[in-house]
Protein backbone atom coordinates (compact mmCIF):
# COMPACT_ATOMS: atom_id res chain seq x y z
CA UNK A 1 0.00 0.00 0.00
CA UNK A 2 3.03 2.20 -0.60
CA UNK A 3 2.29 5.72 -1.85
CA UNK A 4 -1.37 5.91 -0.80
CA UNK A 5 -1.06 7.36 2.73
CA UNK A 6 -1.59 10.95 1.66
CA UNK A 7 -2.59 13.91 3.76
CA UNK A 8 -5.40 16.02 2.26
CA UNK A 9 -8.48 15.10 0.25
CA UNK A 10 -7.14 16.84 -2.86
CA UNK A 11 -3.94 14.75 -2.75
CA UNK A 12 -5.94 11.54 -2.37
CA UNK A 13 -8.32 12.42 -5.21
CA UNK A 14 -5.36 13.34 -7.43
CA UNK A 15 -3.58 10.08 -6.58
CA UNK A 16 -6.63 8.21 -7.84
CA UNK A 17 -6.59 10.27 -11.05
CA UNK A 18 -2.93 9.51 -11.73
CA UNK A 19 -2.93 5.81 -10.81
CA UNK A 20 -2.97 2.84 -13.16
CA UNK A 21 -5.69 0.19 -13.23
CA UNK A 22 -3.32 -2.32 -11.66
CA UNK A 23 -2.27 0.05 -8.87
CA UNK A 24 -5.87 0.77 -7.98
CA UNK A 25 -6.86 -2.91 -8.07
CA UNK A 26 -3.95 -3.90 -5.80
CA UNK A 27 -4.62 -1.09 -3.34
CA UNK A 28 -8.36 -1.75 -3.28
CA UNK A 29 -7.88 -5.46 -2.54
CA UNK A 30 -5.36 -4.81 0.22
CA UNK A 31 -7.23 -1.92 1.83
CA UNK A 32 -10.64 -3.63 1.77
CA UNK A 33 -9.17 -6.59 3.67
CA UNK A 34 -8.06 -4.40 6.57
CA UNK A 35 -10.72 -1.65 6.51
CA UNK A 36 -13.08 -2.83 9.30
CA UNK A 37 -10.24 -3.72 11.65
CA UNK A 38 -8.38 -0.51 10.86
CA UNK A 39 -11.37 1.70 11.63
CA UNK A 40 -12.17 -0.27 14.79
CA UNK A 41 -8.62 0.30 15.95
CA UNK A 42 -8.59 4.01 15.07
CA UNK A 43 -12.00 4.59 16.64
CA UNK A 44 -10.57 3.72 20.07
CA UNK A 45 -9.33 7.26 20.52
CA UNK A 46 -10.33 10.72 19.33
CA UNK A 47 -8.92 11.71 15.94
CA UNK A 48 -6.86 14.53 17.39
CA UNK A 49 -4.94 12.03 19.52
CA UNK A 50 -3.81 9.77 16.68
CA UNK A 51 -0.03 9.29 16.55
CA UNK A 52 2.03 9.32 13.34
CA UNK A 53 1.50 5.67 12.42
CA UNK A 54 -2.22 5.88 13.18
CA UNK A 55 -2.51 9.03 11.08
CA UNK A 56 -0.81 7.16 8.26
CA UNK A 57 -3.34 4.34 8.60
CA UNK A 58 -6.21 6.87 8.59
CA UNK A 59 -4.89 8.47 5.41
CA UNK A 60 -4.53 5.07 3.77
CA UNK A 61 -8.15 4.24 4.50
CA UNK A 62 -9.27 7.66 3.24
CA UNK A 63 -7.56 6.93 -0.09
CA UNK A 64 -9.76 3.85 -0.32
CA UNK A 65 -12.81 6.16 -0.47
CA UNK A 66 -11.58 7.53 -3.78
CA UNK A 67 -10.11 4.35 -5.22
CA UNK A 68 -13.22 2.27 -4.48
CA UNK A 69 -15.28 4.56 -6.69
CA UNK A 70 -12.94 3.76 -9.56
CA UNK A 71 -12.82 0.02 -8.91
CA UNK A 72 -16.43 -0.62 -7.90
CA UNK A 73 -18.31 2.04 -9.86
CA UNK A 74 -16.47 3.46 -12.85
CA UNK A 75 -14.55 0.32 -13.80
CA UNK A 76 -13.67 0.58 -17.53
CA UNK A 77 -14.85 4.19 -17.63
CA UNK A 78 -12.32 5.34 -15.03
CA UNK A 79 -9.79 6.88 -17.47
CA UNK A 80 -12.48 8.96 -19.18
CA UNK A 81 -14.11 9.78 -15.84
CA UNK A 82 -10.80 11.11 -14.49
CA UNK A 83 -10.76 13.68 -17.31
CA UNK A 84 -14.21 14.88 -16.28
CA UNK A 85 -13.44 15.02 -12.55
CA UNK A 86 -10.56 17.45 -12.99
CA UNK A 87 -13.04 20.31 -13.48
CA UNK A 88 -14.57 19.79 -10.03
CA UNK A 89 -12.04 21.26 -7.61
CA UNK A 90 -12.23 20.15 -3.99
CA UNK A 91 -11.92 23.37 -2.01
CA UNK A 92 -12.64 22.03 1.46
CA UNK A 93 -13.06 18.61 3.07
CA UNK A 94 -14.16 17.79 6.58
CA UNK A 95 -11.09 15.53 6.79
CA UNK A 96 -8.86 18.59 6.33
CA UNK A 97 -10.55 20.62 9.08
CA UNK A 98 -9.40 20.69 12.71
CA UNK A 99 -11.11 18.04 14.81
Amino acid sequence: MEGWALSGAVSRATRRDLSSDAERADFYDAAMRVLPAALDHLDRKPLRELDASETRLMNLMLSLCHVALAVEMQRDDEAQHAQRRQYLRITRASSDCPC
Binding site: A9, R12, A13, M32, L35, P36, A38, L39, L42, D43, P46, L47, L50, M58, M61, L62, L64, C65, H66, A68, L69, E72, M73, Q74, R75, D77, H81, R84, R85, Y87, L88, R89, I90, T91, R92, A93, S94, S95, C97, P98, C99
Partner: protein, 400 residues
Protein backbone atom coordinates in the same frame (compact mmCIF):
# COMPACT_ATOMS: atom_id res chain seq x y z
CA UNK B 1 -44.16 38.65 -6.46
CA UNK B 2 -45.08 35.02 -6.10
CA UNK B 3 -47.52 33.93 -3.46
CA UNK B 4 -47.45 30.58 -1.72
CA UNK B 5 -50.84 29.04 -2.22
CA UNK B 6 -49.63 25.88 -0.50
CA UNK B 7 -47.60 22.94 -1.65
CA UNK B 8 -49.25 21.04 -4.47
CA UNK B 9 -47.80 17.62 -4.96
CA UNK B 10 -48.84 15.65 -7.98
CA UNK B 11 -47.66 13.08 -10.45
CA UNK B 12 -46.14 14.16 -13.73
CA UNK B 13 -49.30 13.41 -15.71
CA UNK B 14 -50.70 16.59 -14.21
CA UNK B 15 -47.66 18.56 -15.31
CA UNK B 16 -49.54 19.95 -18.30
CA UNK B 17 -50.93 22.49 -15.84
CA UNK B 18 -47.81 24.48 -16.69
CA UNK B 19 -48.43 24.13 -20.41
CA UNK B 20 -47.12 21.82 -23.07
CA UNK B 21 -45.85 24.25 -25.70
CA UNK B 22 -42.25 24.29 -26.84
CA UNK B 23 -40.14 26.77 -24.86
CA UNK B 24 -38.13 29.54 -26.59
CA UNK B 25 -34.41 28.74 -26.85
CA UNK B 26 -33.17 32.35 -26.76
CA UNK B 27 -33.43 32.75 -22.95
CA UNK B 28 -30.84 29.98 -22.64
CA UNK B 29 -28.12 31.79 -24.59
CA UNK B 30 -28.91 35.41 -25.45
CA UNK B 31 -26.91 38.07 -23.58
CA UNK B 32 -29.89 40.45 -23.89
CA UNK B 33 -32.14 38.06 -21.96
CA UNK B 34 -29.40 37.48 -19.39
CA UNK B 35 -29.19 41.25 -18.85
CA UNK B 36 -32.92 41.30 -18.17
CA UNK B 37 -32.60 38.40 -15.70
CA UNK B 38 -29.92 40.39 -13.89
CA UNK B 39 -32.32 43.24 -13.23
CA UNK B 40 -35.61 41.33 -12.92
CA UNK B 41 -34.32 38.52 -10.73
CA UNK B 42 -30.78 38.60 -9.40
CA UNK B 43 -30.83 42.21 -8.21
CA UNK B 44 -34.10 41.75 -6.34
CA UNK B 45 -34.37 38.14 -5.15
CA UNK B 46 -32.99 36.38 -2.08
CA UNK B 47 -29.79 34.57 -3.13
CA UNK B 48 -28.19 31.79 -1.09
CA UNK B 49 -24.60 32.76 -0.48
CA UNK B 50 -23.16 31.09 2.61
CA UNK B 51 -23.75 29.35 5.93
CA UNK B 52 -23.67 30.50 9.53
CA UNK B 53 -20.97 27.88 10.15
CA UNK B 54 -18.58 30.11 8.19
CA UNK B 55 -19.21 32.97 10.61
CA UNK B 56 -19.15 31.04 13.86
CA UNK B 57 -17.05 33.50 15.83
CA UNK B 58 -17.74 37.19 16.37
CA UNK B 59 -15.36 39.15 14.16
CA UNK B 60 -15.40 36.54 11.40
CA UNK B 61 -16.24 37.55 7.86
CA UNK B 62 -16.67 36.10 4.38
CA UNK B 63 -16.55 37.75 0.96
CA UNK B 64 -18.60 36.32 -1.90
CA UNK B 65 -18.77 37.40 -5.55
CA UNK B 66 -22.14 37.71 -7.30
CA UNK B 67 -20.89 38.10 -10.86
CA UNK B 68 -24.33 38.37 -12.42
CA UNK B 69 -24.80 41.61 -10.48
CA UNK B 70 -21.15 42.70 -10.84
CA UNK B 71 -21.11 42.66 -7.05
CA UNK B 72 -18.85 41.49 -4.26
CA UNK B 73 -20.53 41.08 -0.87
CA UNK B 74 -18.85 41.35 2.53
CA UNK B 75 -20.70 39.51 5.31
CA UNK B 76 -19.61 40.16 8.89
CA UNK B 77 -20.46 38.59 12.24
CA UNK B 78 -20.19 41.54 14.59
CA UNK B 79 -19.14 41.33 18.24
CA UNK B 80 -22.74 42.33 19.03
CA UNK B 81 -23.80 38.96 17.57
CA UNK B 82 -25.46 40.49 14.53
CA UNK B 83 -24.76 39.35 10.97
CA UNK B 84 -24.50 42.27 8.52
CA UNK B 85 -23.81 42.38 4.78
CA UNK B 86 -22.32 45.20 2.76
CA UNK B 87 -21.18 45.88 -0.75
CA UNK B 88 -17.44 45.20 -0.60
CA UNK B 89 -16.77 48.70 -1.87
CA UNK B 90 -14.95 51.56 -0.14
CA UNK B 91 -17.21 54.61 -0.09
CA UNK B 92 -14.31 56.96 -0.89
CA UNK B 93 -13.74 56.14 -4.57
CA UNK B 94 -15.19 52.67 -4.99
CA UNK B 95 -12.14 50.47 -4.45
CA UNK B 96 -12.84 46.85 -3.55
CA UNK B 97 -12.38 46.88 0.21
CA UNK B 98 -11.44 43.32 1.19
CA UNK B 99 -9.41 41.02 -1.07
CA UNK B 100 -9.54 37.88 1.12
CA UNK B 101 -12.38 35.34 0.87
CA UNK B 102 -12.77 35.18 4.63
CA UNK B 103 -11.09 35.53 8.01
CA UNK B 104 -11.41 37.35 11.30
CA UNK B 105 -10.97 41.09 11.82
CA UNK B 106 -12.23 43.93 13.96
CA UNK B 107 -12.09 46.50 11.13
CA UNK B 108 -11.67 46.74 7.36
CA UNK B 109 -9.18 49.16 5.81
CA UNK B 110 -9.18 50.12 2.17
CA UNK B 111 -5.69 49.49 0.73
CA UNK B 112 -5.87 52.64 -1.44
CA UNK B 113 -6.17 55.52 1.08
CA UNK B 114 -6.71 53.66 4.36
CA UNK B 115 -10.34 54.51 4.97
CA UNK B 116 -11.19 52.16 7.82
CA UNK B 117 -14.65 50.75 8.54
CA UNK B 118 -15.98 48.93 11.59
CA UNK B 119 -17.92 45.65 11.74
CA UNK B 120 -21.11 47.72 11.54
CA UNK B 121 -20.03 49.38 8.28
CA UNK B 122 -19.40 52.75 9.91
CA UNK B 123 -16.47 54.79 8.69
CA UNK B 124 -14.24 54.87 11.74
CA UNK B 125 -11.29 56.79 10.40
CA UNK B 126 -9.88 58.26 7.21
CA UNK B 127 -6.54 60.06 6.88
CA UNK B 128 -6.74 63.83 6.47
CA UNK B 129 -10.52 63.66 6.39
CA UNK B 130 -10.86 67.38 7.19
CA UNK B 131 -10.06 68.14 3.56
CA UNK B 132 -13.22 66.33 2.33
CA UNK B 133 -16.52 68.13 1.81
CA UNK B 134 -18.76 65.51 3.42
CA UNK B 135 -19.71 64.35 6.88
CA UNK B 136 -18.14 61.09 8.01
CA UNK B 137 -21.55 59.74 8.98
CA UNK B 138 -22.54 59.77 5.30
CA UNK B 139 -19.65 57.53 4.29
CA UNK B 140 -20.75 54.23 5.81
CA UNK B 141 -20.47 51.06 3.74
CA UNK B 142 -23.52 50.38 1.58
CA UNK B 143 -25.61 47.82 3.42
CA UNK B 144 -27.14 44.76 1.74
CA UNK B 145 -30.19 42.92 3.10
CA UNK B 146 -29.13 39.66 4.75
CA UNK B 147 -31.20 37.00 6.51
CA UNK B 148 -30.68 33.38 7.48
CA UNK B 149 -32.92 30.33 7.55
CA UNK B 150 -31.80 26.87 8.67
CA UNK B 151 -28.27 28.27 9.00
CA UNK B 152 -28.29 29.20 5.31
CA UNK B 153 -27.37 32.83 4.63
CA UNK B 154 -29.24 34.68 1.89
CA UNK B 155 -28.68 38.22 0.61
CA UNK B 156 -30.96 40.44 -1.43
CA UNK B 157 -29.45 43.26 -3.50
CA UNK B 158 -32.72 45.17 -3.58
CA UNK B 159 -32.43 48.28 -1.36
CA UNK B 160 -35.86 47.47 0.03
CA UNK B 161 -36.76 43.79 -0.56
CA UNK B 162 -40.43 43.22 -1.36
CA UNK B 163 -40.51 40.15 0.92
CA UNK B 164 -38.64 38.95 3.96
CA UNK B 165 -36.67 35.74 3.45
CA UNK B 166 -39.30 33.74 5.34
CA UNK B 167 -42.08 35.19 3.22
CA UNK B 168 -40.06 34.33 0.12
CA UNK B 169 -39.48 30.72 1.26
CA UNK B 170 -43.05 30.24 2.47
CA UNK B 171 -43.75 26.81 4.01
CA UNK B 172 -40.39 25.53 2.77
CA UNK B 173 -38.68 27.56 5.51
CA UNK B 174 -39.96 25.22 8.23
CA UNK B 175 -38.99 22.16 6.22
CA UNK B 176 -35.44 23.47 5.81
CA UNK B 177 -35.20 24.05 9.54
CA UNK B 178 -35.75 20.36 10.22
CA UNK B 179 -32.89 19.26 7.95
CA UNK B 180 -29.26 18.51 8.92
CA UNK B 181 -28.10 21.74 7.27
CA UNK B 182 -29.80 23.69 10.06
CA UNK B 183 -27.45 22.14 12.63
CA UNK B 184 -24.31 22.16 10.49
CA UNK B 185 -21.07 23.41 11.95
CA UNK B 186 -18.76 22.41 9.10
CA UNK B 187 -18.88 21.31 5.49
CA UNK B 188 -16.98 19.81 2.57
CA UNK B 189 -17.03 21.69 -0.73
CA UNK B 190 -16.11 21.41 -4.37
CA UNK B 191 -16.48 24.00 -7.10
CA UNK B 192 -16.73 23.85 -10.87
CA UNK B 193 -16.99 26.36 -13.68
CA UNK B 194 -18.98 25.53 -16.75
CA UNK B 195 -19.49 27.08 -20.18
CA UNK B 196 -23.26 26.99 -19.90
CA UNK B 197 -26.19 29.22 -19.05
CA UNK B 198 -27.30 29.03 -15.41
CA UNK B 199 -30.79 27.73 -16.28
CA UNK B 200 -29.46 25.05 -18.61
CA UNK B 201 -27.02 23.96 -15.89
CA UNK B 202 -29.64 24.07 -13.16
CA UNK B 203 -32.18 22.16 -15.27
CA UNK B 204 -29.80 19.23 -15.56
CA UNK B 205 -30.10 18.71 -11.83
CA UNK B 206 -33.87 18.88 -11.70
CA UNK B 207 -34.74 16.19 -14.24
CA UNK B 208 -33.98 12.48 -14.17
CA UNK B 209 -34.66 11.74 -17.84
CA UNK B 210 -30.87 11.73 -18.45
CA UNK B 211 -29.90 9.43 -15.56
CA UNK B 212 -29.66 6.13 -17.38
CA UNK B 213 -27.64 7.64 -20.23
CA UNK B 214 -25.24 9.96 -18.39
CA UNK B 215 -24.95 8.00 -15.10
CA UNK B 216 -25.23 4.37 -16.23
CA UNK B 217 -22.97 3.20 -13.38
CA UNK B 218 -23.06 5.81 -10.64
CA UNK B 219 -26.83 6.04 -11.04
CA UNK B 220 -27.55 2.31 -10.89
CA UNK B 221 -29.49 2.57 -7.62
CA UNK B 222 -31.61 5.43 -9.00
CA UNK B 223 -33.21 3.38 -11.77
CA UNK B 224 -34.75 -0.09 -12.00
CA UNK B 225 -37.04 -2.27 -14.09
CA UNK B 226 -40.15 -0.70 -12.56
CA UNK B 227 -38.81 2.84 -13.06
CA UNK B 228 -36.21 2.65 -15.84
CA UNK B 229 -35.66 6.40 -16.00
CA UNK B 230 -35.64 6.89 -12.23
CA UNK B 231 -38.44 9.43 -12.32
CA UNK B 232 -39.36 11.04 -8.97
CA UNK B 233 -42.21 9.76 -6.84
CA UNK B 234 -43.80 13.20 -6.88
CA UNK B 235 -43.26 16.87 -7.59
CA UNK B 236 -44.25 19.85 -5.50
CA UNK B 237 -44.60 23.54 -6.41
CA UNK B 238 -44.41 26.26 -3.78
CA UNK B 239 -44.57 29.71 -5.34
CA UNK B 240 -41.36 30.09 -7.37
CA UNK B 241 -39.78 27.05 -5.67
CA UNK B 242 -40.01 23.35 -6.50
CA UNK B 243 -39.57 20.05 -4.71
CA UNK B 244 -39.26 16.47 -5.81
CA UNK B 245 -39.40 13.25 -3.86
CA UNK B 246 -36.63 11.04 -5.14
CA UNK B 247 -37.26 7.43 -6.07
CA UNK B 248 -34.60 4.82 -5.41
CA UNK B 249 -34.51 1.18 -6.36
CA UNK B 250 -35.16 -0.92 -3.23
CA UNK B 251 -33.74 -3.99 -4.98
CA UNK B 252 -30.45 -2.35 -5.96
CA UNK B 253 -27.47 -4.13 -4.43
CA UNK B 254 -24.87 -1.63 -3.19
CA UNK B 255 -21.24 -2.10 -4.11
CA UNK B 256 -19.11 -3.40 -1.19
CA UNK B 257 -17.63 -0.11 0.01
CA UNK B 258 -20.74 1.81 -0.97
CA UNK B 259 -22.81 -0.40 1.34
CA UNK B 260 -20.25 -0.15 4.12
CA UNK B 261 -19.89 3.66 4.01
CA UNK B 262 -23.58 4.48 3.60
CA UNK B 263 -24.43 2.01 6.35
CA UNK B 264 -22.17 3.99 8.68
CA UNK B 265 -23.62 7.32 7.50
CA UNK B 266 -27.15 6.04 8.07
CA UNK B 267 -26.29 4.95 11.61
CA UNK B 268 -24.73 8.34 12.37
CA UNK B 269 -27.81 10.07 10.96
CA UNK B 270 -30.15 7.95 13.12
CA UNK B 271 -28.10 8.75 16.22
CA UNK B 272 -28.35 12.46 15.42
CA UNK B 273 -32.12 12.25 14.99
CA UNK B 274 -32.16 12.49 11.20
CA UNK B 275 -33.32 9.00 10.36
CA UNK B 276 -36.67 9.95 8.83
CA UNK B 277 -36.65 8.13 5.46
CA UNK B 278 -39.29 10.47 3.99
CA UNK B 279 -37.13 13.52 4.74
CA UNK B 280 -34.09 11.83 3.21
CA UNK B 281 -35.78 11.72 -0.20
CA UNK B 282 -36.80 15.36 -0.42
CA UNK B 283 -34.92 17.51 -2.90
CA UNK B 284 -35.57 21.25 -2.74
CA UNK B 285 -35.11 23.63 -5.67
CA UNK B 286 -35.14 27.11 -4.12
CA UNK B 287 -35.60 29.87 -6.67
CA UNK B 288 -33.61 31.01 -8.48
CA UNK B 289 -30.42 28.93 -8.28
CA UNK B 290 -30.17 26.84 -5.11
CA UNK B 291 -30.67 23.11 -4.48
CA UNK B 292 -30.72 21.26 -1.18
CA UNK B 293 -31.07 17.52 -0.64
CA UNK B 294 -32.76 16.58 2.61
CA UNK B 295 -30.77 13.36 3.00
CA UNK B 296 -28.75 13.05 6.18
CA UNK B 297 -26.33 10.61 4.55
CA UNK B 298 -25.48 12.94 1.66
CA UNK B 299 -26.72 16.34 2.86
CA UNK B 300 -25.56 18.38 -0.10
CA UNK B 301 -26.45 21.82 -1.41
CA UNK B 302 -25.70 23.11 -4.88
CA UNK B 303 -25.66 26.72 -6.02
CA UNK B 304 -25.47 27.49 -9.75
CA UNK B 305 -24.17 31.05 -9.89
CA UNK B 306 -24.60 32.84 -13.23
CA UNK B 307 -21.47 34.52 -14.60
CA UNK B 308 -22.59 35.38 -18.13
CA UNK B 309 -25.27 34.22 -20.57
CA UNK B 310 -23.17 31.14 -21.30
CA UNK B 311 -20.99 30.67 -18.23
CA UNK B 312 -21.79 29.64 -14.64
CA UNK B 313 -20.12 28.43 -11.47
CA UNK B 314 -21.37 25.54 -9.38
CA UNK B 315 -20.65 25.33 -5.66
CA UNK B 316 -21.52 22.01 -4.03
CA UNK B 317 -21.35 21.52 -0.27
CA UNK B 318 -21.98 18.62 2.07
CA UNK B 319 -23.03 19.98 5.44
CA UNK B 320 -22.05 18.14 8.63
CA UNK B 321 -23.34 18.60 12.15
CA UNK B 322 -19.96 18.43 13.89
CA UNK B 323 -16.26 18.30 13.19
CA UNK B 324 -14.96 14.82 12.38
CA UNK B 325 -14.46 13.15 15.76
CA UNK B 326 -13.85 9.51 14.94
CA UNK B 327 -12.05 7.68 12.16
CA UNK B 328 -15.22 6.02 10.92
CA UNK B 329 -17.11 9.30 10.71
CA UNK B 330 -14.22 10.91 8.82
CA UNK B 331 -14.02 7.93 6.47
CA UNK B 332 -17.75 7.88 5.71
CA UNK B 333 -17.84 11.64 5.05
CA UNK B 334 -14.88 11.47 2.66
CA UNK B 335 -16.69 8.72 0.76
CA UNK B 336 -19.93 10.71 0.64
CA UNK B 337 -18.14 13.75 -0.83
CA UNK B 338 -16.21 11.69 -3.39
CA UNK B 339 -19.42 9.94 -4.46
CA UNK B 340 -21.41 13.13 -5.16
CA UNK B 341 -18.40 14.66 -6.93
CA UNK B 342 -18.13 11.58 -9.15
CA UNK B 343 -21.79 11.92 -10.15
CA UNK B 344 -21.62 15.66 -10.83
CA UNK B 345 -18.45 15.17 -12.90
CA UNK B 346 -20.53 13.09 -15.31
CA UNK B 347 -22.98 15.95 -15.92
CA UNK B 348 -20.70 18.83 -16.78
CA UNK B 349 -19.58 17.84 -20.29
CA UNK B 350 -23.06 17.09 -21.59
CA UNK B 351 -24.41 20.39 -20.23
CA UNK B 352 -21.63 22.23 -22.10
CA UNK B 353 -22.53 20.28 -25.25
CA UNK B 354 -26.11 21.49 -24.82
CA UNK B 355 -24.90 25.08 -24.53
CA UNK B 356 -22.82 24.83 -27.71
CA UNK B 357 -25.89 23.67 -29.57
CA UNK B 358 -28.15 26.37 -28.16
CA UNK B 359 -25.61 29.15 -28.64
CA UNK B 360 -25.36 28.25 -32.33
CA UNK B 361 -28.84 29.71 -32.71
CA UNK B 362 -29.94 26.65 -34.70
CA UNK B 363 -33.05 26.15 -32.55
CA UNK B 364 -35.91 28.53 -31.95
CA UNK B 365 -37.47 26.27 -29.36
CA UNK B 366 -36.63 23.43 -27.00
CA UNK B 367 -38.99 20.80 -25.62
CA UNK B 368 -39.80 19.59 -22.12
CA UNK B 369 -41.68 16.35 -21.53
CA UNK B 370 -43.98 15.86 -18.54
CA UNK B 371 -41.16 14.55 -16.33
CA UNK B 372 -39.14 17.69 -17.09
CA UNK B 373 -41.87 19.81 -15.55
CA UNK B 374 -39.49 21.35 -13.00
CA UNK B 375 -37.44 22.77 -15.88
CA UNK B 376 -40.61 24.12 -17.45
CA UNK B 377 -41.64 25.66 -14.13
CA UNK B 378 -38.26 27.40 -13.79
CA UNK B 379 -38.53 28.80 -17.31
CA UNK B 380 -42.04 30.10 -16.68
CA UNK B 381 -41.11 31.62 -13.32
CA UNK B 382 -38.08 33.38 -14.79
CA UNK B 383 -39.94 34.59 -17.85
CA UNK B 384 -42.88 35.84 -15.79
CA UNK B 385 -40.50 37.98 -13.74
CA UNK B 386 -38.65 39.22 -16.81
CA UNK B 387 -41.89 40.16 -18.59
CA UNK B 388 -43.22 41.84 -15.46
CA UNK B 389 -39.98 43.84 -15.22
CA UNK B 390 -40.28 44.93 -18.86
CA UNK B 391 -43.96 45.83 -18.37
CA UNK B 392 -42.89 48.03 -15.45
CA UNK B 393 -40.67 50.03 -17.75
CA UNK B 394 -37.42 48.18 -17.06
CA UNK B 395 -34.73 47.53 -19.61
CA UNK B 396 -31.37 45.77 -19.38
CA UNK B 397 -29.00 47.65 -17.08
CA UNK B 398 -31.70 49.93 -15.74
CA UNK B 399 -33.59 49.78 -12.46
CA UNK B 400 -37.33 49.62 -13.18
Amino acid sequence: MHSHSGTKAFVADDAALFGTDPVPAAPYHQPEYFALEREAIFRRTWLQIGHIAELAEPGSFIVRPIEVANASILIVHGPDGKIRAFHNVCTHRGTELVAEQGGKRSSFSCPYHMWTFGYDGRLRSAPDFERFYIDKSRCDLVQVAVEACAGLIFVNLDHSPAQSLREFLGPIARQLESLPVACATTFSEYVYEIDANWKLTYDNFQENYHLRFIHPRSGEAATGPENPFGYPVKFGFVGPHRTQTIWSNPAAAPKPLQGFAFGKLARFAMAEGFGNPAQNKEYFAIFPNFFLLGSATQPFSHVVMPISASRSRGVVRLYWGSADDTATRRFAREYAMATVRDIHAEDRAVIEAGQRGLSSGALRHIHFQSQEVLCRHLYHTVNEMVQSYIAGGGAPGQAA
